[in-house]
């Protein structure tokens, strides 16, 4: 029923389903790492990811939010509405006590991914 390959607008790379899983996992990992530094809201996380790599969201920053909500659904992140530095009600994300078992696996996945990205960035394209 479904097309055999799915087009993912993430990092601007066309990936098949299997690779899409990998990329999704990678984004989840990075988000968790950023949140691990301290509770922060979506915009801040996006900014931080952007700092890591100028071109992280090569297409849309909006794609961060499905990841945040997914992680919250898994129970790895918790959220709370707090006042931000500008005095507005903002949704802050923080790590929960529940540590994902897949982090280890994810790290190794990340390793291969890092290497691939680095070789890509050598061509001057993407880097994390």
């Amino acid at each position: 029923l479904l097309d055999s390959s799915i087009y993912v607008e993430f990092l601007g790379i066309t990936v098949t389903e299997g690779k899409q899983e990998l990329l999704r996992g990678t984004l989840d990992m990075l988000v968790l790492k950023v949140v691990a530094l301290g509770p922060s809201h979506g915009y801040a996380i996006a900014q931080r990811l952007q700092q890591i790599s100028e071109e992280f969201f090569q297409v849309h920053q909006g794609s961060l939010y499905p990841a945040l909500h997914r992680l919250e659904d898994y129970g790895w992140l918790q959220s709370e509405w707090q006042e931000s530095d500008t005095g507005r009600e903002v949704k802050f994300y923080a790590l929960t006590k529940k540590r994902p078992q897949t982090i280890r696996r994810g790290s190794s996945q990340l390793g291969t991914y890092d290497r691939r990205c680095r070789s890509n960035s050598a061509d001057g394209r993407v880097g994390v």
């Binding site: 479904l2 915009y43 909006g62 939010y65 909500h69 659904d73 903002v90 949704k91």
Partner: protein, 896 residues
């Protein structure tokens, strides 16, 4: 639970998400403003970088599974709304599906409960019986030789001891005993069972205690278990009778158990019925009565029931028991044919036998019916899908994914199928009642409880899902295929865009027609079979004949004199009754013949083997049955009185034994008599007359040679009385019974009925059942197909209104328009018919065991079915075609 609260407070979670995303955007804009961009530019870039707000929201929603639940409900609601809007379509589809699912469930219930899981006994699927099969002569049996399913006590004990293939074995022996109390006597069908029977079958009694092996000890008090049916019928289900004593067969016996309703183990009465006994009495096989088989009392043999060891096939069991039987044959050479095998038969086959093929044919028929239904509904859905093309295109263009659209279409067919299943279960409930009404007696095990049980409902549910998929898939795959642009741009009724759908619809229609042809062929062949059976020349007139069976009250043998005295007086009084034309005693029931025997002609030697069927009858036989005398004379009263050794033969025997030479005066010997203790041994019977042949092996088989002997030549425990009446024989039952009882109060009368009833039961019931069931399935199929053709043609016409308008504007006559539309419809139907006829040609052979007197490829049936289908197809096309001719060109073209 957070998902639950999100699900219940959807609007709140939506606004929270909105707030979160907007905060992101606003912060971004603020940052860009701070960086010195213009307000316009900042907003533009922030939005560009963020991506589509609605799409992000949709993706966020997709991460939560309550969204899927929500979508499901939404699709469900939408499907309901759509179907409600198109009520006529929905009703037709649901009705068709209900018929399909209902009939499939009905037949499944019969097969599952009657064939696959009929017995409530332990390890029921491994229960089997076996019999000795004579390899030399399978058609004719002498008593004690030939095929034999009864075993002596000695054989039972040896087989039980030495066979390795069975877990255990029980023996059953049928008997008739009389229960005597103050009010009178009640004949009981008794099964003497080996004491391990109740443990073997593993069924606990409904009331009382189970019978254990110790109950059969000679010293133990005599006990018995009672059938639920007898308990209900004669004791009104009174629980207090358990533990009381009954005088049965002259012996006081204690009732210790009442068995549950489905415990119906018993020994067969006739060929294709196996009734549960009224009571069961434990009895040990006595090795002492290992002697010869008494031909007059062949019942004193054990019918065996074994449970095969797990993993042992019936074939393996056969060869295992054959080894034991070979040893037995050396000990009792008189009991075994020279060349024989042991045949193991699954217990259910003993009852169902030949009827299994009929049930499987029905299963195939309902499967086809279901397929027709699915195709039909799929076609209707497809037509709808085409009109909804634009709607689907719009949905796709505003972001619905393909899987989402497919799901939505499938949901619609699922709702249809579910409604169909609910209505179908109601149909199945009534269908099952009707089914059991036409089901011939004794074709399914008495133990089987045929109802809409869990298994059947689960089955109905699963075929419902399959149905939903089959119906929905075609249109689901069809709709999201074509490219959006052309579908949005098209008028929705374009001719070009519909070609693909049109071909698909035509293909489905052709398939439907073909399937219904196969069903009609099945029904047609059953009709021909019944017709052929009804027109068999039996050689006599079976109407107006009453049959009753007399047996001696204690099951004991009558002596020749007792028997003659009784029948003489009974026949004399019955003949004198007003309304009675003639009466006779017989041993057998025409046209079902009697015991076979080898014959020898006096003064003729040689190795040729001649055999004949024999019947013992009184002088009134030929007049009662209506058999014409050809030569010589008939049996007379004097022949009866003095038991003269004379015989009347039929012309088949005269032809085969004496090759047309007048046999009157010749003498022949019946070898079977030598095996019967009180019959004249080594006696030659003089042929005194030749009569016309009648059917004597049932309606289907050709007649065997037949000999009629005086019934007074030896004693028996019973015999039939046939009475030819001038009026309705059933109205005579009471008076005939009273007359017989007036001769002897103690005589027991059983199986009183008309000859026609017997014929119906043995010969007409099965094809009638086939005709009624296959006929109704074929009728339903044809109806659905006709509606289908009508629907598709009407739809085609509605699509082509525009085209027809142009044609008419250009001068086409109404006639040519009518022809054009009809030709299209008839072409489709014709292709379907041709495919269907070819398919029938290949498939009807599976019905071969159920049909008779007509070839499975009978050209007349083929032609009749094809004609019927053509008429149905034409009728279905005519209405839409006539509507096409009434198209007003002005109206049709106005919408351009």
């Amino acid at each position: 639970m957070s998902w639950l609260s999100r699900f219940l407070h959807k609007s709140r979670s939506e606004s929270v998400l909105d707030k979160e995303l907007h905060f992101h955007l606003e912060r971004q804009i603020a940052d860009y403003l701070a960086a010195g961009m213009s307000a316009e530019e900042a907003r533009r870039r922030a939005r560009l970088e963020f991506g589509g707000l609605e799409r992000v929201k949709e993706e966020v929603r997709d991460t939560r599974w309550e969204t899927h639940l929500d979508n499901l409900f939404r699709d469900l609601r939408y499907a309901f709304r759509c179907l409600r809007k198109d009520r006529r379509f929905a009703l037709i589809a649901i009705f068709a599906l209900a018929l399909g699912i209902g009939s499939t469930s009905t037949v499944f219930s019969v097969i599952y409960n009657g064939l696959l899981r009929p017995f409530p006994y332990k390890g029921a699927s491994r229960l089997a019986t076996f019999y000795i099969h004579d390899m030399q002569d399978a058609t004719l049996q002498e008593v004690g030789r030939g095929d034999r399913g009864g075993f002596t006590s000695a054989e039972f004990l040896v087989l039980r001891e030495q066979s390795q293939a069975f877990e255990d074995m029980i023996g059953l022996m049928s008997d008739e005993m009389f229960y005597t109390n103050d009010q009178g006597t009640l004949p009981l069908r008794v099964a003497l069972v080996t004491p391990n029977t109740f443990q073997f079958l593993g069924v606990n009694p409904l009331l009382g205690r189970s019978i254990i092996p110790a109950d059969a000890n000679p010293a133990a008090p005599s006990v018995f278990a009672m059938n639920y049916k007898l308990w209900q019928k004669h004791f009104n289900g009174d629980a207090k009778i358990v533990g009381t004593s009954f005088v049965i067969g002259g012996v006081p016996r204690t009732l210790v158990a009442i068995m549950p309703p489905r415990f119906q183990i018993g020994v067969g009465g006739c060929d294709n019925c196996r009734e549960g006994s009224d009571i069961w009495i434990p009895s040990n096989p006595r090795p002492s009565d290992s002697g010869i088989i008494n031909a007059a009392e062949p019942m004193h043999l054990w019918a065996l029931l074994v449970r095969l060891r797990p993993g042992i096939s019936p074939q393996a069991a056969s060869s295992d028991s054959y080894i034991v039987a070979q040893r037995l044959a050396r000990v009792f050479p008189a009991l075994y044919p020279p060349k024989f095998t042991m045949v193991t038969q699954p217990y259910v086959d003993l009852v169902v036998g030949n009827f299994r093929a009929m049930l499987y044919a029905l299963a195939a028929a309902v499967a086809m019916l279901l397929l027709i239904t699915c195709t039909n509904v799929a076609n209707l859905l497809l037509a709808r899908a085409t009109t909804r093309d634009k709607e689907m295109a719009i949905r796709a263009s505003i972001g619905a994914s393909r899987s989402r659209l497919v799901r939505q279409v499938l949901m619609e067919s699922f709702v249809l199928a579910l409604a169909g299943a609910i209505a179908g279960c109601v149909f199945a409930y009534w269908g099952l009642k009707g089914f059991l009404l036409v089901l011939p007696n004794g074709t399914l095990p008495e133990e089987s409880a045929i109802s809409l049980n869990t298994a059947v409902l689960l089955f109905a549910l699963s075929i419902t899902s399959i149905t939903a998929l089959l119906c929905g898939l075609v249109s689901a795959l069809h709709s999201p295929r074509a490219d959006l642009l052309s579908r949005l741009a098209g008028s929705g009724k374009g001719v070009g865009g519909d070609i693909q759908g049109g071909n698909l619809r035509a293909g489905l229609l052709i398939g439907e027609v073909a399937l219904s042809i196969v069903l009609l062929m099945g029904a047609g062949l059953m009709l021909r079979t019944l017709f052929a059976l009804n027109h068999v020349n039996m050689g006599f007139d079976p109407s107006h004949v009453l049959v009753t069976e007399l047996s001696s009250p204690n099951g004991r043998q009558w002596t020749v004199d007792q028997k003659r005295l009784l029948f003489d007086r009974v026949l004399g009084r019955v003949k004198a009754l007003p309304g009675v034309i003639a009466a006779t005693a017989t041993a057998s029931l025409p046209p079902y013949g009697g015991p076979g025997s080898d014959v020898e002609v006096a003064g003729r030697t040689g190795s040729a083997r001649w055999s004949t069927q024999t019947d013992l009858c009184s002088d009134g036989f030929f007049r009662t049955v209506g058999i014409q005398l050809l030569r010589g004379r008939l049996l007379s009263e004097g022949d009866m009185a003095s038991a003269r050794q004379v015989v009347v033969v039929d012309d088949t025997l005269a032809r085969s034994l004496f090759s047309g030479v007048d046999p009157v005066g010749r003498k022949i010997k019946f070898k079977v008599l030598d095996l019967i203790p009180d019959a004249p041994h080594n006696a030659y019977f003089e042929i005194i007359g030749v009569v016309k042949s009648i059917k004597n092996r049932g309606l289907r088989d050709s007649a065997m040679p037949q000999a009629y002997l005086p019934y007074t030549i030896f004693g028996t425990p019973g015999g039939n009385v046939l009475v030819r009446t001038s009026g309705d024989p059933l109205s005579m039952i009471k008076v005939v019974h009273e007359t017989i009882r007036s001769v002897d109060r103690g005589v027991s009368l059983t199986d009183t009925s008309t000859l026609e009833t017997y014929l119906r039961q043995y010969d007409y019931a099965a094809p009638e059942f086939g005709l009624v069931t296959l006929g109704s399935f074929a009728g339903i199929g044809l109806l659905i197909v006709t509606v289908g053709i009508f629907g598709v043609m009407a739809y085609t016409v509605s699509l082509r209104v525009h085209e027809i308008g142009i044609r008419m504007a250009l001068g086409a006559q109404q006639n040519s328009i009518l022809k054009m539309i009809l030709a299209k419809g008839v072409r489709m139907v014709a292709v379907g018919i041709i495919i269907g006829l070819f398919a029938s040609y290949g498939l009807t052979r599976f019905l071969a065991s159920q049909i008779w007197g007509v070839s499975t490829t009978d050209p007349w049936t083929f032609a009749a079915v094809a004609m019927l289908a053509v008429f149905a197809g034409l009728a279905a096309c005519l209405l839409p075609a006539r509507r096409a001719t009434r198209v007003d060109p002005l109206v049709a073209l106005r919408y351009e």
